[in-house]
C-alpha cells in the first residue's frame, strides 16, 4: 500500500509581491520540515493519526502560520486556539476550542478523541482536561508575536476582521 501526506499552512490573499525570495525560502523550508515529520512516521510503519499530529505540531510551533505560536489576536487581545482531528478508520473525532493555554492544541484534540468519552471540549474545561492528561500548558503570552500584534492593531484601526495571511 502506498503512503502519503499532505499539509497546508493557511490560505488567503497571498501574493508574490508581498514576499521576498528569502521569505519564500523560509516558508518552504518550514513546510518541508512539517512534511518530513509526518512522512518519517509513515515510512517507519506508523499510523496516519500520529503522522498528521506530528506535521501539525511543526506548524503550531512556528510563528509563520496562524496556529499555536503564530495564532492571531482576538478582539480582547488574547490568542484563542482551536484544533480538531479525525480518524478515518474508526470515524472517531476530537476537538478543543477557545483555548488559551494548551501549548499544542492538536495534542489536546487527540487526547479528547482517544482518552475521553467526549468529542469537543471548550475553554476552561478543555484546559482542565489537558492539564489532567499531562499536556503542557503555557501562559497566553507564549503565543504572542510582534507581527501578529501589529496586524491586530491595524485590524482594530480599520475595524475589520481578517482571515489568515490577508494582511500581507
Amino acid at each position: 500500500m502506498k503512503f502519503t501526506i499532505a499539509i497546508h499552512g493557511g490560505a488567503g490573499n497571498i501574493n508574490p509581491q508581498n514576499y521576498t525570495p528569502e521569505d519564500i525560502k523560509v516558508y518552504e523550508e518550514k513546510l518541508k520540515e512539517s512534511l518530513n515529520a509526518g512522512f518519517n512516521i509513515l515510512q517507519g510503519g506508523g499510523n496516519a493519526i500520529d503522522a498528521v499530529v506530528a506535521s501539525v505540531k511543526v506548524m503550531e510551533d512556528s510563528p509563520l502560520f496562524n496556529a499555536g505560536v503564530g495564532g492571531v489576536f482576538a478582539n480582547n487581545a488574547m490568542v484563542e486556539l482551536d484544533a480538531c482531528i479525525m480518524d478515518g478508520k474508526t470515524l472517531n473525532a476530537g476537538g478543543v476550542t477557545s483555548v488559551h493555554k494548551i501549548k499544542n492544541p492538536i495534542e489536546g484534540a487527540l487526547r479528547v478523541m482517544e482518552d475521553s468519552p467526549h468529542t469537543l471540549l471548550s475553554g476552561n474545561g478543555a484546559e482542565l482536561f489537558a492539564y489532567k492528561q499531562g499536556l503542557e500548558l503555557v501562559p497566553n503570552k507564549h503565543f504572542h508575536t510582534k507581527k501578529r500584534y501589529d496586524q491586530f492593531k491595524k485590524a482594530q484601526e480599520k475595524k475589520k476582521i481578517m482571515v489568515d495571511h490577508s494582511m500581507g
Binding site: K2, A6, G12, N15, L35, M59, F65, G71, N75, D82
Partner: protein
C-alpha cells in the same frame, strides 16, 4: 489555519486541523475550520480533508463532510467533489481552500483565493508551493 491529511501503509486515513482564528475576531467566536465536518473530516471509505479559510462559511456548507458525501453517495472523484464544494463556499462569499487525500492515495490541493501554503510528500514526489500556479 494549518492542517495535515495522511494515508498510512495500512490504507488508513486521518485529518488534523489547528487554527488561531481570524485577527480581531470577537473573542469566544469558534473560529475557522477546525470543526469536525466543517474544515476537517476523515473516512476510510472516501477521503481525508483539512480546510483553511473563512470559517463561518465552512461551517454553513459543512464543507469537509460535503466532499466526502459527494464521493460516497454521488460517485464523484475527490477533485470533482472538491471543486463543487469550493463553488458552494464561494456562493456564500466564503474563501479559502483545502487539502485532501482519497482512499487510493490521490492528493488534491485546491483553493479559491490567491494562495495557499501547501505541500505533499510520498515515496516518489516531494512538493511545496505557496502561490496560485506554482
Amino acid at each position: 489555519t494549518v492542517g495535515a491529511v495522511a494515508m498510512d501503509k495500512k490504507g488508513n486515513l486521518a485529518a488534523a486541523t489547528s487554527t488561531g482564528g481570524m485577527t480581531n475576531k470577537f473573542y469566544g467566536r469558534v473560529s475557522d475550520t477546525s470543526i469536525v465536518g466543517a474544515g476537517n473530516y476523515a473516512n476510510n471509505k472516501t477521503c481525508a480533508i483539512s480546510g483553511t479559510g473563512t470559517g463561518d462559511q465552512f461551517i454553513k456548507t459543512v464543507f469537509a463532510y460535503d466532499i466526502s458525501a459527494q464521493m460516497e453517495f454521488a460517485s464523484k472523484t475527490l477533485e470533482e467533489a472538491g471543486k463543487i464544494s469550493l463553488q458552494k463556499l464561494a456562493e456564500i462569499k466564503g474563501h479559502g481552500g483545502f487539502i485532501g487525500i482519497d482512499r487510493k492515495g490521490n492528493i488534491q490541493m485546491d483553493f479559491n483565493c490567491s494562495g495557499m501554503f501547501r505541500g505533499f510528500k510520498n515515496e516518489s514526489e516531494n512538493f511545496v508551493a505557496i502561490f496560485k500556479g506554482d
